[in-house]
Amino acid sequence: MRLPTQWFGVAPFFIFAIMFLILPTLYLMLGAFQNDAGEFTFENIAALAQPSIVAAYWISIKVSLASSLIGAFAGLAIAIAIVRGGLPEWIRSATLTFSGVASNFAGVPLAFAFIATLGRLGLATVILNTFFGLNIYAHGFNILSFWGLTLTYVYFQIPLMVVIIVPAIDGLKKEWGEAAATLGATMAQYWRMVVIPVIWPSFLGTVILLFANAFGAIATAYALTGSSLNIVPILLYAQIRGDVLHNAHLGYAIAFGMIFITGLANVFYIWFRTRSERWLK
């Protein structure tokens, strides 16, 4: 017998991916559409409509959307500033190095850093109060809130955008700007007709990545707020630990919902991308 040697190099990869990535996910997907007896049902998905779960999804979507959009535009602005702004070369390389670090500085330690900054006794809170007479907590700010969490997530979202988008901006050839100027284009026209169409696909792709990044994140939020901010990953975490919803299949449905949303974001991305590529031709 001849072994199918054609496959032997990729076999470990595929076996691993199927066993530990695809099957576990499929298992939950199917579980979301089954009842305890193993029969097909839409009941679990329908049960997601209860107010507490809808609220959790809604706040998760809001935090992810806000942090990914703020992160994306701030990251883009910083990237343009360091690549095209005429700043000294060391600023560019220092920013890129720092972005590599900060984009991976997430999870529990990031929450600690923001508590030390904007918590009730945090340095920024105290300084604003003592020197500027601005008590942000009296004005309704709270680190354990929507804006607190968003502001914290932005700390890893901006650098991630910078790291990914800088090569795309580097890809803009100087000649294109000169060509546009020769043809009499204004700065605004150059941006609208050259820069944005070229950067657009990678920008949008990164926004989707940032969104998924924030949507699935749990450690930062959990360390920051405990379970006081009811976002989906924390709800799912509580469900896995202690079946707080008293229905195992509802847990599957929540997991299904999370993948559905990040998956949907990616479908949008692919759709936009094919559209923009068609337009570029």
């Binding site: 032997f8 529990v108 450690a219 975490y237």
Partner: protein, 263 residues
């Protein structure tokens, strides 16, 4: 153009403020433990805590195993795709991107349900099995980074010629991979390894849900119960991340730059 430069400075300054204020605040907070004076007491307490040493050691070990597992899976696959099965590249790239779309908490939830004590593959029935499952979970998390790093490394060498030369000299597959391909992509593999290390060392979700005594859950526990130690831990974690990224940068200087013939 003058005003462009001005705005570039403004953007840069705002960004720098946003990124440095939390770091300064955390350093300041971590030194407030002793009343009335700045001190490194919080660091002393943290570093002297036996649980810190135990959980940190556990996570370092988990990271090392994750890197080994990742290399064993990714290097042969990336190599084989360049050599024999380029038509599989889109599929493999798609799979390696999945962990960025499927949240870690969902993956580990799947493990808990699929590999429980009553399942055909009862990973969770023993401590060793659960440790293995944690390493496996970490390897899936690092898959996107590891694959990209190795694939980039392979792009700079002429895989086909090297392989044929080795075969002519009578080398078997294991020799080719361990003594020809791996040394050539070592730098790329190490970059992937350090990135994996940075991701794994403080990971919370998987370790916590699998009940492993890892660094991430320890951090969370300290955060919930102490005041100044968390700030010290945040600075330590930042330093570790910084160290990993610096090593990657230093390594990249040794990486071969010219792409030979594109495969």
């Amino acid at each position: 153009m003058k005003s462009g430069k001005f705005w570039a400075w403004v953007v840069f300054a705002l960004g720098a403020a946003y990124f440095f204020i939390p770091l300064i605040a955390t350093v300041e907070f971590s030194m407030r433990m002793r009343r009335g004076a700045y001190s490194f007491d919080a660091y002393k307490v943290v570093l002297g805590d036996p649980r810190f040493q135990a959980t940190f050691g556990y996570s370092v070990l988990a990271a090392v195993f994750t890197i080994i597992l990742g290399v064993l899976i990714v290097v042969p696959a990336a190599y084989w795709i360049r050599l024999r099965l380029p038509q599989l590249r889109p599929l493999v790239e798609f799979i390696t991107l999945l962990p960025l779309v499927i949240p870690a908490i969902v993956i580990v939830f799947g493990y808990i349900r699929m590999y429980g004590s009553n399942s055909p593959l009862p990973f969770l029935a023993s401590d060793t099995g659960t440790n293995a499952l944690l390493v496996i979970g970490y390897a899936t998390l690092s898959l996107p980074y590891m694959y990209r790093a190795v694939d980039t490394g392979l792009r700079t060498i002429d895989v086909r010629t090297l392989t044929e030369a080795a075969q002519i000299l009578g080398a078997g597959w294991s020799t080719i991979i361990t003594r020809v391909i791996l040394p050539n992509v070592l730098i790329a593999v190490l970059s992937g390894a350090f990135l994996t290390f940075a991701i794994v060392i403080g990971e919370f979700t998987m370790a916590s849900l699998l009940n492993r005594p890892a660094f991430g859950p320890y951090l969370q526990n300290i955060g919930a119960n102490r005041a100044y130690e968390p700030a010290a831990l945040a600075i330590i974690a930042f330093a570790i991340t910084w160290g990993c990224m610096s090593l990657i940068q230093i390594l990249s200087r040794f990486a071969p730059r010219s792409a030979n013939r594109p495969n």
